[in-house]
């Protein structure tokens, strides 16, 4: 089969096979950078990295079970829903597979037997965004949720609410249909003039929301999570205030590094405390530098 496989079945001769299993579906802009980071690290260390993801915690735990059945040498798991993954992770630990948790789930990481946790939960990032927006004078914020019921997105909005200290209204849009995003955000801005800030949780949504702000003639400040070429351009042009950058590349790179070291050398990093990767912010000041990196998919 001619899959352009960055991680293909036969384990590479040297280091071993590590499985990255996240709670995001394939093609998600944020998690794609994580994937790129993990794969780059795999190439660097000469180990095989496989990446899978599914937003349904049940499916995610099935993927973990599969990795255990395949006797991988290490496991990287994002835990948006720790309760649901408890048993699957437990089975991996019982099978003597070292586990590193990433992104959310820092609280349960140690209890489940993971060797360490990398990254920070979405609400920390959200809080950072909220604080920045408050500094920019936003009092009523629109949080654009592009996948209803997604825990990560909910945590981002919640964090922003804490950081802002003002009102946060949620708006549900369909990320697969950008025209819909534009017109819904515009509808909200037209019908509620109090809203003076918009927080997008995805770069494509940010681009669509930018049009909405323009269309509706609103003065609302726009910020977003994550980067894309267009987002960076918009930041440079002053259309978007800033983008939250969790530096999630590290959430892919570091766990593979740690697992490789653990396997070779039994190193454990952080002594059970989480290793933080962000959040960073991309603003007009540093947009120029990261533009290229965002296009390449590492920021």
């Amino acid at each position: 089969q001619s899959a352009p496989a960055s991680g293909s079945a036969p384990p590479a001769a040297s280091g071993g096979t590590f499985a990255v299993i996240t709670h995001a579906s394939a093609g998600d802009a944020f998690w794609d950078v994580v994937k790129n980071g993990a794969e780059a690290a795999g190439k660097q260390y000469g180990v095989t990295v496989t990446y899978q993801g599914d937003g349904d915690p049940g499916k995610q735990s099935q993927l973990i079970d599969q990795a255990v059945a395949q006797k991988v040498d290490g496991l990287v798991v994002s835990m948006a829903n720790p309760d649901a993954l408890k048993e699957a992770v437990g089975r991996a630990v019982a099978a003597k597979i070292p586990v590193v948790t990433i992104n959310s789930g820092a609280g349960s990481s140690k209890a489940f037997g993971a060797i360490t946790h990398v990254g920070q939960s979405e609400d920390v990032a959200g809080r950072g965004a909220g604080e920045q927006l408050r500094a920019a004078g936003v009092t009523k914020l629109l949080c654009v949720v592009h996948e209803a019921g997604n825990v990560g997105l909910d945590q981002r909005c919640k964090g922003a609410e804490q950081g802002l200290g003002g009102t946060v209204e949620r708006l549900q849009v369909d990320v697969a249909n950008l025209a819909d995003v534009t017109s819904k955000v515009a509808a909200k801005l037209q019908s509620d003039k109090q809203v003076n800030g918009v927080l997008a949780l995805n770069p494509a949504v940010a681009v669509a929301a930018r049009d909405a702000v323009k269309d509706s003639g609103s003065q609302a400040k726009l910020a977003t999570f994550d980067l894309s070429g267009d987002v960076v351009t918009a930041i440079k042009d002053g259309e978007i205030l800033f983008a939250v950058d969790q530096q999630q590349y590290l959430q892919g790179w570091l766990p593979i590094t740690f697992l490789t070291l653990y396997k070779k050398n039994l190193n454990t990093v952080g002594g059970g405390l989480p290793v933080n990767t962000g959040p960073g912010f991309v603003t007009k000041d540093n947009a120029e530098q990261v533009a290229k990196l965002a296009e390449a998919g590492t920021r």
Binding site: V175, K184, A187
Partner: protein, 346 residues
């Protein structure tokens, strides 16, 4: 015993013009439309302002273009689940070729069109040759295209989104034609709305006043009987799949030009919204019945309900609940009107 043609028949009760109009498939949907509009317009002044109208007409236009194509296909007795993802494929082709391979926008769009038509042709050929249900075949293409969109985009660009179309040659012209705005009474409306009206008009003419239109109804109503009187059933169906692919290309290009960037997972899930709009507009899922205007009206109903809830500022958590209730009520109104029209006496 044989009455002269044209003489009134004593066995036909006098049917008022109103009732005769109501019997048409699309005019049932129009009642749903009026009801939904009245509901939102009464409560939100912004909703009925020109700016508000421009706002909810915009997504209705792109949805409408697709709904009309899907309605033709459904009247012809088939489904296309791959149409939503195909809008993404054409957009990705356009942006990738224009930004990474230096093609100008027009050439990139042409390549996208060729690929889209090829995919439509493949869908049609597989369905007519293997006689597998189109639900399954286009589900296969749906999944495969999803994989291709993601896999190829990643392989070529290293990311799951391509952007930067603004800098490509020919961008401004193409944008003005497909993704610009026209001012009407001081309010800018998207040109997509004009394209949508054009597509609806052409589709209606084809359905009602052309030979292929007659064939579409026939292959959807009873394919074997249609074949038996010499209708080129396979060719008709293949043409319908290619029409859908064409519409997907049109919508994909409009959206890519408007947002200048495309994400690899765009369009997923939209295929059902197209079908929903067509069904609200009176198309039968079993084929052989429906109208292009109805599908357009269905698209507007969906667009109004979808945006109206936001205009009213109802709790976002309950959004889907209201949307579902609204759709159910609109279709119910539509149905009640039609039944009334069919059953009223004398």
């Amino acid at each position: 015993m044989t009455a002269a043609a044209g003489r009134a028949d004593e066995r036909v009760a006098r049917a008022g013009l109103v009732r005769r109009l109501l019997i048409r498939p699309e005019l049932g949907a129009v009642v749903g439309l009026v009801a939904v509009f009245a509901f939102f317009a009464a409560q939100s002044p912004v909703f009925r302002s020109p700016q508000g109208v421009a706002n909810w007409l915009d997504p209705a236009a792109t949805l409408g273009i697709m709904a009309v194509a899907i309605a033709l296909l459904m009247i012809g007795g088939e489904f296309d689940l791959s149409a939503g993802v195909l809008t993404g494929t054409t957009g990705l082709i356009l942006v990738t070729l224009a930004t990474r391979y230096g093609l100008d926008v027009w050439t990139a769009m042409l390549v996208g069109l060729v690929v889209a038509l090829a995919i439509g042709l493949a869908n049609g050929l597989i369905v007519t040759r293997t006689r597998l249900p189109s639900f399954i075949v286009t589900l296969g293409t749906f999944l495969m295209l999803q994989g291709v969109n993601l896999g190829v985009t990643k392989a070529l660009t290293g990311t799951v989104q391509v952007s930067g179309l603004r800098r490509a040659a020919g961008y401004e012209d193409a944008r003005a034609l497909l993704a610009g705005t026209v001012e009407i009474g001081g309010t800018p409306f998207r040109v997509a709305i004009l394209w949508w009206l054009l597509v609806t008009a052409v589709a209606t003419w084809v359905l009602m006043r052309s030979r292929p239109g007659n064939w579409i109804f026939a292959v959807g109503g009873n394919e074997q009987a249609a074949r038996a009187v010499g209708v080129p059933a396979a060719r008709t169906k293949i043409a319908l799949f290619m029409t859908t692919a064409f519409a997907a290309w049109l919508v994909g290009s409009i959206l890519a030009l408007r947002y200048t960037s495309v994400q690899a997972n765009i369009g997923i899930g939209q295929e059902f919204i197209y079908i929903i709009a067509a069904v609200i507009g009176g198309c039968l899922l079993t084929g052989g019945y429906g109208s292009a205007i109805g599908a357009s009206v269905g698209a507007v109903i969906f667009g109004m309900a979808d945006k109206g809830i936001v205009f009213l500022g109802w709790d976002a958590d309950w959004f889907k609940f209201f949307l579902g209730a609204m759709l159910l009520l609109a279709t119910l109104a539509n149905r009640l009107v039609r039944r009334y029209a069919e059953e009223v006496k004398h």
